[in-house]
Symmetry: D2
Subunit: 265 residues, 4 copies
Amino acid sequence: MWLYASCFLEFNIPVATPFLLMLRPRSGSHQWVAREQYFLAPSVSVVEFTDPFGNLCQRLVAPPGRFSVHTAFDIESPGASDEAPGAPFVEVQYLPDETLPYLHPSRYCESDRCTRLASSIVVGEAAGYDQCAAIVEYIRNTIQYTPGAGQQLISACEVNELSSGVCRDLAHLGIACCRALSIPARLVVGYLETLDPMDLHAWFEAYVGNRWYTFDPTQSSLDGARLAIAYGRDAADVAVYTQFGDPVELLGMHVTVERRSGPPD
Amino acid sequence: MWLYASCFLEFNIPVATPFLLMLRPRSGSHQWVAREQYFLAPSVSVVEFTDPFGNLCQRLVAPPGRFSVHTAFDIESPGASDEAPGAPFVEVQYLPDETLPYLHPSRYCESDRCTRLASSIVVGEAAGYDQCAAIVEYIRNTIQYTPGAGQQLISACEVNELSSGVCRDLAHLGIACCRALSIPARLVVGYLETLDPMDLHAWFEAYVGNRWYTFDPTQSSLDGARLAIAYGRDAADVAVYTQFGDPVELLGMHVTVERRSGPPD
Amino acid sequence: MWLYASCFLEFNIPVATPFLLMLRPRSGSHQWVAREQYFLAPSVSVVEFTDPFGNLCQRLVAPPGRFSVHTAFDIESPGASDEAPGAPFVEVQYLPDETLPYLHPSRYCESDRCTRLASSIVVGEAAGYDQCAAIVEYIRNTIQYTPGAGQQLISACEVNELSSGVCRDLAHLGIACCRALSIPARLVVGYLETLDPMDLHAWFEAYVGNRWYTFDPTQSSLDGARLAIAYGRDAADVAVYTQFGDPVELLGMHVTVERRSGPPD
Amino acid sequence: MWLYASCFLEFNIPVATPFLLMLRPRSGSHQWVAREQYFLAPSVSVVEFTDPFGNLCQRLVAPPGRFSVHTAFDIESPGASDEAPGAPFVEVQYLPDETLPYLHPSRYCESDRCTRLASSIVVGEAAGYDQCAAIVEYIRNTIQYTPGAGQQLISACEVNELSSGVCRDLAHLGIACCRALSIPARLVVGYLETLDPMDLHAWFEAYVGNRWYTFDPTQSSLDGARLAIAYGRDAADVAVYTQFGDPVELLGMHVTVERRSGPPD
C-alpha cells in the first residue's frame, strides 16, 4: 500500500534556539521510503546523527523569527499490522541482545511499579501475545482516550490514576505493563492512515513469538497503514522535536496522511 | 595508583532464574584493568554482550540452590578525580552526539520536573562546572546521606521530597538538576577506595568544558581512586544485577577495595 | 549551494538476483538532503540497514526481466571543498577511534606494499596535509586519468604499474600512500558537480589537522559541490551496487548533477 | 572444558612507538573468560576501544627500551568445535546484516579473483557447509602448511600460487573461496589447545545453516578447545599487534595453552 504523509511545524523563535528533531523515518523491513522531503525555512545548517536506538536525528539552531519545518514522505507499507494470538513469551535468556534495553523501566514507563497491575490484568492468559492483548483491552476499557488533550507528559502510573490520556499516554501504560511481565516493549511515533482527527500518532510494540508486534490501545483494530518515524523506550527518547533554552512558541502543526493508488512518479 | 577491588554476591535461588549482570569494568581512558576474575559457582554458561551505553553485560540462568558470583580486579586509576571550577557550559549544538542521550529525562531522573529547583540552586553561578558544583553543594546541605538504607528505588523528585537517600539517590538528584540546565549527566556505578562503610558506590558525571567530570554528593572531596563498572542514564540502565521472574534471596554481598603499592605480579 | 543529482540504473535480470545497493546519501555535517526519491521498477520489498561504516544499505531481490533503480536528490553542500596546507599530521595515539580502521591496508589499497613509494613521494614535505597534497600531485603527474575505462577493479599497486585508471583507481592509490605514512584515508563515492563527462565519482579523504579533508587526484582543483553517497576503506566496501549469483546485464546508467538557484519548493 | 592460555611478547623499542594491540578476548556464546591478566612492563597508560567488528583494542605508546606485554586467561570453552555436514547455504537476502561485511573481498582475501578456483573445488557439493568442507579439503591437499615460516603477509591468490603458507595464509585462502561462493567468511585469531608447535593460531569461520561454523585447514579435525581473541575480514583487521613508525625489534614471543581439570580458584 502506498501512502503520502506530511508534517508541517511552525515556530516563533525569540532568540536563537537549539533544536533536536526526529522527523526522518528510515526504510526498514516494514516500510520503504520512496520519496521524502525535509525543508527548513529559513534554511539553516543541520547535522544528522544516529541515536542509540537507531533513529536518525537532526540538530540545528533555529534563528530568531518565524521558523518552519516541513517534511513529507511517499512510502510503501502494509495496509494492516500483523496479529498473532497465541504467540509465545520469549524467556529472557533467549531474547536478542538488542531487545534487552526495552525490558527496563524508563522515564514515563515505571514498569517497576506496575507489577501488581500487570499481573492482575493478565490472570488466566497464556504468556506472550495474549497477555499483551489483555493489557491493550484493559486500557481500552479503563482509560479514556482524549486526543489533543494534555501537552504535559505524564507517566504510566499517572495515566492509570487519571484514567485519561492521549495516544502516547495509553502506549506508555501498555509498555509499562508488558515490561512488568518481562516482555520487551517500546514506543513508536509515526503516522497512522486511519487516525481521526489526523495528527502524529504513538503506539507500542512488544516482543513476543520472536519478533516485534504492533499494539495500539487507541484503535479498535490494527487496520490502516502505519509509517514509523522513531522508536525508543518512551517519549523521553522519541520527542519529534526537543528545544533547548527558553520556551519557543509553536504557531502551528499540520499533519496529513493520504492513501495513494500506486508508487509516486 | 593501583587498586584491588572485589565484589562477592551470594543468592538462594528457588527455581532456575535468568540474571542480567553488569560486573565487568572496561579499560578506558581513566582506568586500566590489569587483572580480573569473574567466577560463578556453580559454573553456568554465560553470554556477554555490549549494551547501547557501551557496558559489558552478562546473561545467564542461575540454577536452583546456592549461587554465587565473585568478581575481583587489579586496576590502575588516578588517586583523585579532576576538578575544573570555571569549566564552561557546552551549548547543545556543540555537544558530541554520544552525550545527547544523557540530556533527556529518565526513569529516576525526571529532569523535566526539576527546572525550577535547578534554576533556584544555581542563581548567580557561571554556566557549566560551577552550576554542577552548586548542585552538589545543595545536595550535601539538604539531603541526608543514609548509606545502607532503602532498597526501594526512588526518583530524584522523591529524593528531594524525602531529603534522604543512598548514594544512588543523591546522584539521581544531581543528574536531574544538571539535565534540567541542559548539561548532559550520567550515572556511574563502581568502587571508591575511600568509601566508608565499604560497598559498591554510585556517583555521577557531567559534561562541561568538553569532557566528563566526576561529581560525588556523598563525599566531601574527590580524593580517592575510583573504578567505574558501568555507565547509564540512571539506575534503570545500570543495575549491577537484574533478576527476572519470582524474587530470589540475596544471602550476602561483600565488597572490598584496597590500595596496592604497585602492579600485580 | 543547492544541487540536484540523480542516478538511473537499468538491468536485465535473467533469474531472481539478490542486490546490495548503496545509493542513499546521509545528511551530515557537510551536506543536507532536503529531498530524495528512491524508485524501484518494478516495486519490490527492500530492507535497509546501516553498515559498520555508517552507510545506509538497501537489500532486495530483483525479479526476472527489466529492473530499474532511480534515485534523485536535492541537497545543499558547499561550493568547494576546504584546503588546509600545513595542517599537521595527527600522531596515531591521538587519532579518534573511528579513524583507526582507515589506517589498515584493504583489498584495493595495499598500503603495506606502498611504504617505499609513499616515502619517496613526500621527501621534504611537512608531515600531514602537505604529504597528502604531494601524493595527489604525484598521481596527477604520473597516472593517466581515463574516465569510463576499466570495469575491472584493480588495486593501488596495479594502478601504479599500469599508470592509468579511473577515478576510483586514482583514489585507491592516494589512499594506499597516505596509509603507508600512518595517515587515515578513506574512499568516498558520490557526485561532483563539475565532473566531465558526468558520471558517479570517487575521491578520497585523509585525516590530518584533526578532521577529514577532501582530495581528488582527477581534478585540478577542489572547486565544485560534492554529494557523498558512501564512505569505506575502498571500493570493496562501497560498491554502489553489488549483485550476487550469475552476472546480470547493466543495460544503462545515467547520472545528472545540476546546480540550482535555491532550495527546492 | 577449562583452559589456561598465555601470550608473552617482548620488544626492543628504539624510540617511543605507538602500538595497537588486540590481545583481550571477549566472553561470548562459545567462551567464558573467568580470569584474565594483561600486564605491561613498564606500565604505561592505555586506552581501550571497540573496533567495528566488536573486538576490544588497546592503544598505547611504548617507551624506549625493553617493553613487554603479558596476557593470560582462564577460560571455559567446548572441547571441540561443531561440525554440520549438510548445513544449507543461506541466500544473501536472508543473511543477518552483521554477516554482510564478510561477503566482500578484503586485503588478503581477494574473493573477486577466486570465483573460478572456488567453483572448480566445489563441483558436485551441496551448497553450504559441504562446499566449505570441500574447500578445506582442497587446501589440506594442495597447500603445504609450514608453521613458523613467512612473516611477510601474502594474499589468498599468492598462497594458492606458492602452495605453501602459515595458518593465517591457509585461512585466507579458505575465506576467499567461501566468499567467492557468496558464503560469509571471517578470520579468527586465537589459541588452539592442540596446536603443535604451540603458537598463536588463526582459522576461519563460515556462515551456513544460520550460524557461524569453525573451519581449520591446518588441522585434521576440529578437536581441541579454542579461545578466540579477535575476529575480522582478514589479517589486516586482526593483527595481534600493529606498531606505527620505524620498525621495532620483537625480541621474543611465548605462547602456552594448558588444559585444566576445573575452574580456577
